[in-house]
């Protein structure tokens, strides 16, 4: 059908080395199939643009699964429908590549529907060749998302119906509803005139990528004589008669003339900078201090929002800075968003086994439900700190060393209920002397995200340390 005789494209191989069997010169496609024509056009376009060495062709699942037989390019064969995702990986990892995904209708519009939609929507700088032949050719002629109403396939033996399978999907129109794509065109392989347009569109779609413009897709209505059970000439007529009314040819998006925004070179960090790794003498590994008398196995519990996890985190940080071994384990997930929160903190001079504290030797209870839930787990002669502003009139077990700290009241008096947790931290330090004020402040500094709150937290810490007095 294509009467223009050109020299074979250089980016099409002379010998199809990956093709099995003795015949390394003819394609595996059926007579009259559109794939051969499209391959040829891609080869010519890549030659003309001089990008064969940078080209990466994503071969899909479908008849064109073996597209890699034919091109002298880089080839990545991908899972069914995933070419746009894999191509995204290629392009993001190696922006200089010219990435082309070559996909059939089942691959692109059915199983890979979301992948193409999202790659188009991100405006990936890639080129998609979408072969629409309204059928699954490779697997024996099943229905595709682009199968026409009434069209018989092996899985629509009585013809596709709107009631059972719905309408064919129009990919160009669908993608044209998105902002990002820069070039969308539907072409057809019917006669020399439409074929010439197809050739032009294919080259333009690659050109757009070379210029760094973004996502391009060319939809090619392509004959499948075997799948349609028609002769090659009848197949081309079938496109005209049946496909064109449903899939009108034309340009659906063209931003080839728009001015490109300037590319900014970002200022990059080094790994050492990013990770805060000091090198050489300035290495910051805390020196181990005197061993602890006993391992702290603490549970901190209260309402979500009371800063329970934060309290534990600061203690663990202080422990680490003092050269001890520490673990901090939160209750995580939905529990954090309302309801109760608790965390387990272990501070030890020995290697820490279990990070879960089932039998704590310190319980910090910030509300009544937590108190009631955990107080009986504390080991004999263990330490109990509770917020006596919120937990009143509870029986305090004689077997524990108990400290009633009106943490919420104290926090209110210094201006913010929310620092009750740090008041409690101060109280714990005041009672135990496990870390000094400076160590605690250092840990606070490392974990407070809003630095303007540091003064308030310092006040809360001091108030807590002052308030620590035994009550039995």
């Amino acid at each position: 059908m294509d009467m223009v005789v050109k020299e074979k494209a250089k980016s099409i191989l002379d010998q199809y080395k990956y093709k099995p069997g003795p015949d390394k010169e003819s394609t595996h496609y059926c007579p009259g199939c559109g794939h051969g024509n499209v391959h040829k056009m891609i080869g010519e376009a890549v030659d003309e643009l001089g990008v064969a060495d940078r080209a990466v062709l994503m071969s899909p699942v479908g008849c064109s699964v073996f597209a890699y037989y034919y091109f002298n390019m880089g080839h990545i064969q991908v899972a069914h429908g995933r070419a746009p995702a894999a191509a995204t990986g290629v392009k993001r990892a190696q922006p200089h590549t010219i990435v082309m995904s070559y996909q059939g209708d089942g691959d692109l519009a059915a199983i890979g529907g979301n992948n193409i939609l999202q790659a188009a929507n991100r405006g990936e700088n890639m080129t998609v060749f979408f072969i629409n032949n309204a059928i699954y050719g490779m697997t024996g002629g099943q229905m595709a998302p682009t199968t026409l109403l009434g069209q018989r396939t092996s899985t629509t033996p009585r013809g596709r119906t709107r009631a059972n399978e719905g309408f064919p999907i129009r990919v160009c129109e669908l993608l044209a509803s998105l902002e990002a794509p820069v070039y969308l065109e539907r072409v057809a392989l019917i006669d020399p005139k439409t074929t010439a347009k197809a050739r032009k569109a294919i080259k333009k779609a690659i050109q757009m990528q070379v210029e760094g413009r973004g996502f391009s897709l060319v939809e090619i209505l392509s004959p499948c004589p075997t799948g349609w059970k028609l002769s090659p000439p009848d197949s081309r007529e079938w496109i005209t008669k049946n496909m064109l009314p449903v899939f009108p040819l034309g340009v659906y998006r063209d931003r080839s003339k728009e001015e490109l925004p300037p590319v900014e070179e970002p200022k990059l960090e080094t790994v050492a900078e990013a990770l805060g790794i000091q090198t050489g003498e300035a290495a910051t590994i805390p020196k181990p201090s005197a061993p602890l008398r006993e391992t702290v196995r603490m549970k901190v519990a209260g309402f979500g929002g009371q800063g329970i996890l934060f309290l534990g985190e600061v203690l663990a940080e202080a422990g680490m800075q003092a050269g001890h071994r520490v673990t901090w384990l939160p209750s995580y997930g939905p529990e954090m968003r309302g309801g109760t929160a608790n965390c387990h903190v272990v501070i030890s001079s020995e290697r820490i086994g279990s990070p879960t504290v089932s039998l704590p030797n310190v319980l910090v209870a910030m509300n009544r439900p937590s108190y009631e839930r955990f107080v009986n787990d504390v080991i004999d002669n263990g330490m109990l700190l509770y917020d006596s502003s919120l937990i009143e009139g509870v029986p305090v077990p004689e077997r524990l060393r108990s400290y009633a700290i009106p943490a919420t009241q104290i926090a209110d008096s210094i201006g913010n209920t929310r620092v009750a947790n740090v008041v409690m931290l101060g109280a714990y330090l005041g009672i135990t002397g496990i870390f000094d004020r400076e160590q605690a402040l250092n840990a606070l500094r490392l974990h407070i995200r809003r630095t303007q709150l540091l003064d308030l937290n310092e006040k809360a810490l001091d108030a807590g340390m002052k308030a620590a007095s035994p009550k039995k």
Binding site: G74, A85, A86, A93, P266, G353, L359
Partner: protein, 350 residues
């Protein structure tokens, strides 16, 4: 060098950065999301790629594409997401692409819950996707190992051109511990097989398709031989107080931490008990378990699953000694005391 208090999930990305991972593609899921969030924070200023994909399936295929170009690339998720990624993991194994996947296991099956479990052992250690392949599976039990084993995962993935998976539970991901970070020497091989858009690799093919039976069998045998090499060379485990042990507890991840405490506590009570902790779940530390089977009275496998790890232990023990199962599931994590109590009810032990 610096010591920092951080979650295991964050430590994974610290390791990835140190290992020169160039691209992260992920999808949010509890309890793994901090991995993606940390990558989102750290990767772009380093000139590396972070992209939140439209789905788990897309994420793993993006990793596939990036890895095919020769860069180090990774993704992370939790059980339900790993189920979806199995397609891409199988394709990567088939195409011999080095990729790194992290699974922060939550409770299952189905939606389950977000609490720690180890129910993904089969799907990660035994393959999970279709076809004859193996993942190299590393199982950290602390934040430091989340960093260090991530680096090792990249090295092993490259060395064997195979997926390497970090299998950790929700607690190992969510727990904060000190992590020592230092710029270290990272082993990175040349990748002449890659498709990187240069004339050097023009004509290269990354593919998992082998249409003829003869050809596919050759490929599968090639993979099989590679897996034998991995089994011969890459087994890693930790032994704790096993020399004179009558009982050996076997567990990985957070369970191994609890078991360690249980071993110490039981030893104080006079029970001669030790621990073997597999660090590589595949290749499995079969030989050491077989060797210890000569001297111990029994093994107890502790897992947060209903008898998955125990199958590999039984294969190693080959019926020579009893192998008991201690299990909790649904997000219930045993205390060390609970494990000590099952040791005390051993026959002949008070």
């Amino acid at each position: 060098m610096a010591r920092k208090l951080m979650k295991g999930n964050k430590a994974v990305i610290m390791g990835a950065i140190l290992a020169d991972c160039r691209a992260y593609f992920g999808y949010p899921i509890t309890p793994a999301s901090e991995i993606a969030e940390t990558a989102a924070l750290y990767f772009p200023p380093l000139g590396r790629t972070f992209l939140q994909a439209e789905s788990e399936v897309a994420a793993i295929n993006m990793v596939y594409g990036a890895a095919a170009t020769g860069v180090r690339a990774m993704t992370a998720s939790s059980g339900p997401g790993i189920s979806l990624k199995q397609e891409g993991i199988s394709y990567s194994a088939g195409a011999e692409l080095p990729i790194v996947v992290v699974d922060i296991v939550r409770g299952g099956p189905g939606l389950g819950n977000i609490a720690p479990e180890q129910g993904d052992y089969f799907q990660v250690v035994k393959g999970g996707g279709h076809g004859n392949y193996r993942n190299i599976v590393l199982s950290p039990n602390c934040a430091q190992e989340m960093c260090d084993l991530t680096i090792l995962a990249f090295e092993l993935a490259d060395k064997y051109r195979n997926p390497a998976v970090i299998l950790a539970d929700g607690y190992i991901g969510q727990m904060m511990e000190p992590v020592d970070l230092s710029i270290r020497e990272i082993w990175k091989p040349e990748k002449p097989w890659a498709v990187d858009g240069t004339s050097r690799t023009q004509g290269n093919l990354v593919s998992s398709i082998h249409l003829s039976a003869e050809e596919l069998e050759v490929h599968v045998e090639h993979l099989f031989k590679k897996y034998q090499t991995v089994q011969a060379n890459e087994v890693r485990y930790e032994e704790y107080r096993t020399e004179d042990a009558d009982v050996i507890l076997i567990g990985y991840g957070v369970v191994s931490r609890i078991v360690l405490s249980a071993v110490d506590a039981a030893r104080k009570k006079g029970v001669r008990v030790g621990m073997i902790r597999p660090i590589t779940l595949w290749p499995f530390p079969t030989d050491i378990i077989r060797k210890r089977a000569e001297s111990v009275e029994e093994f107890i496998v502790a897992e947060l699953s209903t008898g998955q790890l125990i199958e590999d232990v039984r294969l190693a023990v080959e019926g020579r000694k009893p192998v008991r199962l201690f299990r909790r599931t649904g997000g219930m994590v045993p205390s060390a005391e609970e494990i000590v109590s099952i040791l005390e009810v051993r026959e002949g032990v008070a």
